[in-house]
């Protein structure tokens, strides 16, 4: 059984070697004469103001955590879906209870304004 997955590992290796190989080959034949202005962080021609490493808005964090939560929900839906024809109406009710509770949470975060991006 695991031998069917071996091509994926070979593919990963070959794909990585293609990336690394072209960069290596390019580094051998390309010109290389950097200067101070070329190496500056890009800010449309003016000297960089302040560092880029700052704190950013918490919205991105909320999106990430909501993603984790709903991704878990999606993963629960997958085995249910492929098994659904055998589970029948009983399976439908089971999943309705599960989804119902989560939809309550979804409506709550919507009302709470966590889905607004301002």
């Amino acid at each position: 059984m695991p031998q069917n997955y071996v091509p994926i590992f070979i593919f990963l290796l070959i794909a990585f070697l293609i990336g690394a190989g072209t960069v290596l080959v390019a580094s051998l034949i390309r010109p290389n004469n950097p200067d101070k202005v070329k190496l500056m962080p890009y800010e449309c021609g003016i000297d960089p103001v302040d560092s880029a490493r700052k704190r950013y808005t918490v919205r991105f964090y909320i999106v990430a955590i909501l993603f984790v939560v709903f991704d878990v929900e999606t993963v629960f839906l997958f085995p249910w879906a492929v098994q659904f024809k055998l589970l029948g109406l009983f399976g439908f009710v089971e999943m309705m209870v599960f989804l119902g509770i989560l939809i309550v949470g979804y409506i709550w975060i919507w009302k709470k304004g966590a889905l607004e991006w301002i």
Binding site: P2, V69, P79, L102, G113, A114
Partner: protein
């Protein structure tokens, strides 16, 4: 044969990633090592025949939870870890006996219980999505439904904590 070779490769990657996770100073390097650990763990699950668990390990742990970690490191701009000399001395004093104790306990458990337990045959166990679905939606129905409450609490907790400052 093939299973054993693959197992050794991925187990080595997993342990190497875990050691690198501890050794790296920068949080983002540690997070990357943890992704490697998660990925190789998934491969070990795959070798055991637990296909669905392997896929979920990659989707949830490597692809979702670690994204959250990397996000938090990026957002907070956590810098390199500062290591003080006293800290490492404390680690030396407490760490060596701790390591010894752990090794002795592991050795004791292995010698006492090792040969008695039946060895797992790689590639013989069948953990397909259908098998998981059957178990989850028949025998473990209640835990499954309770999970939704757990997820609900997680949603509320996250939103309340993140929005407290506003």
């Amino acid at each position: 044969m093939l299973e054993t070779v693959l197992f050794l490769i991925f187990a080595a990657i997993c342990v190497g990633g875990a050691i690198n996770l501890l050794a790296q100073k920068h949080p983002i390097s540690s997070a990357l090592s943890l992704i490697v650990v998660m990925g190789s763990l998934a491969m070990v699950y795959l070798l055991l025949g637990a296909e669905f668990v392997a896929a979920v390990q990659i989707i949830i742990y490597a692809g979702a939870i670690m994204v959250l970690f990397v996000f938090v490191i990026m957002l907070l701009n956590a810098g390199e870890e500062e290591r003080s000399a006293t800290g490492s001395r404390v680690a030396m004093v407490l760490g060596v006996p701790g390591l010894l104790a752990a090794a002795v306990t592991t050795g004791w458990v292995l010698t006492r219980h090792g040969p008695a337990s039946t060895p797992v045959v790689l590639g013989e166990f069948h953990g397909s999505a259908h098998a998981i679905g059957r178990l989850l939606f028949h025998e473990f129905l209640l835990p499954f439904e309770v999970t939704s409450v757990l997820i609900l609490v997680a949603i509320m907790g996250a939103v309340v904590l993140a929005r407290r400052g506003e």
